[in-house]
Amino acid sequence: MKSKLSIGDLVFIILISAVAIMIVISVWQAFQVIS
């Protein structure tokens, strides 16, 4: 039986992914400043 993603799951996944991507961008920006 396949498990379905609830709205809560989706909101959470999007939020977590967005913050993770923003952190990666911030690390990249730090690299630009340093180099």
Partner: protein, 421 residues
Amino acid sequence: MKNSANKIIVFAATVVFLLTLGFSWTHTDHDMIPFMNKVFPKAQSFQKIASSPVLYEGKIKEQNGKEEKIGYVVIEQAVAYGGPIKMVTGIDLQGKIVGTVIAAHKDTPSFIDRVIDQKYLEQFIGKDITDPLSIDKDIDRISGATFSSRGIAKAISQGSHAVAREQFGLDVKDEVQPFKFGPKEITVIALVILMVIGVTFKQKKLRWVVLIGSLVFIGFQYNTPISLANIAALLMGNFPSIRENLVWYILLIGIPMITFIIGKNVYCFCLCPFGALQEITAKVGGGKFKCCNKAIEAKAAKLRYILIYLALIGAFLTKTPSFAGYEPFATLFGRQGFGIQWLILPVVIFSSFFISRFWCRFFCPGLIINEIILRPRKYIMGILEKGIYKKAKLKKVQGIKGTEGIEARSANELNKIEVKE
């Protein structure tokens, strides 16, 4: 099959980690000539005359073709907040500083920007090589970049004093920094003591007193929470002077020792100023958003391993500990963020109103660092327990329980804090 693939990945990741860490300990000598020309533009050539510290004579060519010495350039470094700062300083034959410039640094870029923007280095021009160059006496510090100001002054004074001794034959001693023990150190020590009392005697109210005190003082007042950048500095061997930065040692050495002795993640739950803010926002907003099933949440919590790994590798490769500090702490407490960090902070704070300790549970390196401290403790305790059981001649010896649960337990503890109170 999957198991062995995982082992290979972990092994490869460990090898890369150790190689890059080793690289961060190596030294690279940049070409200093452009910096030497900058501090001593009159000199037409430079001749190296000493190595410790690195010292050059600046020379000009006279009309008869002979070279004449017109001064010295000394290269010296000192540790600032995030790492060492290398200073190139020009000195004329009268023993006056004619120019100084930052040749290389591993400090937090925003601190260095502040120092340069506020023309801090101009204060040193015209100073005598025998001057102690003490902060707040001879030189005014730059507010918000105290450690960088100190590191620069120390590097310049050490270099110029060496020239005074070796080239001018003067009896100049480097100023021994007095042990700095002021309100900052007293406050942090008091909070740590209260934290230990609170944890030992399970005083929930005291825990809140410490958390709020930490938010105000370790956070907003002194902007000195433990960050991944500090851990990177520790791994890379960038230790600041204990006389000037006792708090660094209390938080980076003292807290892990307390964690090991007590066997609990004391910092995250009881002292972290950002954790305190997260708990307060969860109180206000409810923090009860039950987003998804535990499996998704557990997978999301693994994300930070990748983030921390990448941030540390980046710090090692660039030899810049501050590179690893991806947390929004400095943005909030020191208003020192840049770029997208100003977006991360409101998103994290907003989310923490609805998801209990949002940052702590999914992004903060704190839990992993505590896991690294508690894992060997659990192993040692397991061995000790085994020995005790053997002595008691018990037939059934309890094995060492797996340590995988530490992180999950930490997350559970975070949740329990919210539920219980």
